[in-house]
Symmetry: C2
Subunit: 173 residues, 2 copies
């Protein structure tokens, strides 16, 4: 399903949010994607915003240092309920992006609908459908939690655009 990339063989997907940033790293080997690592940065409600942001940057940075991805993929054209939500989501994105940019990764955005289309074949797919398909595509022993699944889906969707030489839905940021 996923072909080898000429440029990036280890890809980090990130689904940032203040209390639960999902991350997932895939490696492309023999034209197939394998999950290297995935998880969620959990920041309890009692933590200050700035403490959460530092934890997000620290965790993303440590995964990059350990696993050496060369590309990082986030959602573009996101949805937010209001300005305050957008601001807080932006702060979590900024914390993630700083960690990736400081490590020299190439950073890309893909629109959420494009990710769902690429993984499930349907742009308005539910989160559970995405997680189940991610589990199947990567032969994961158990269902990844929703945030980590979204991050793995971003990495997988990006790897598909590489194999197809169709970069139209990917934007470098």
């Amino acid at each position: 399903m996923v072909a080898a990339s000429p440029t990036h063989s280890v890809i980090l997907g990130i689904d940032p949010s203040l209390r639960g940033t999902g991350y997932g790293v895939i490696r492309i080997e023999n034209r197939k994607a394998k999950a290297v690592d995935h998880g969620t940065v959990r920041c309890p409600a009692g933590w200050s915003r700035s403490r959460c942001l530092a934890e997000i940057a620290r965790t993303v940075g440590s995964r990059i240092a350990a696993l050496h991805p060369t590309a990082c993929v986030l959602e573009g054209l996101f949805y937010a309920q209001n300005l305050q939500t957008a601001l807080i989501m932006g702060e979590a994105r900024g914390a993630s992006l700083v960690a990736a940019a400081e490590a020299g990764l190439e950073i890309f955005e893909i629109a959420p609908r494009k990710v769902k289309q690429a993984i499930v074949g349907y742009g308005a797919a539910q989160k559970l459908a995405v997680a189940k398909m991610v589990q199947r595509m990567l032969d994961l022993p158990s269902l990844p939690d929703a945030d980590a699944a979204d991050a793995l889906a971003l990495a997988l969707a990006y790897s598909q655009t590489l194999s197809r030489y169709s970069f139209d839905s990917v934007k470098r940021i």
Copy 2:
């Protein structure tokens, strides 16, 4: 006008934006505020968003390492024209906050109107009026640029709340 703080004598103000993040560091000595450093992180339009964010975090981090502020102050309750603007502003804030939080600073927010009230005495003051008052309060040889002046104003406004023991307009984040 500004009294010594029992807890923080070197204060960093930050006015984050993607292309021009203002920063200013003040030191409280003998119940008077002195400007230690101020400037603007300029990121040309040709730079990618992620490169700008890394530059913001790098510059803020280097000023913290050099000048050892113990408190960091940003604007709270900001205004943005739309969700996309809020997201991008949030990313710049996230980059700044990561640098401050990683260095262990206490981080606070003050509403923009409270800053203008504290500095100019009028919550809807123009940017130029803020810059002129900041120049006068800190005996600066020339008018600071608008972004750096806003950052110095944040630091000064915060230092006033310390001297008055009136923390009601300051929120720890």
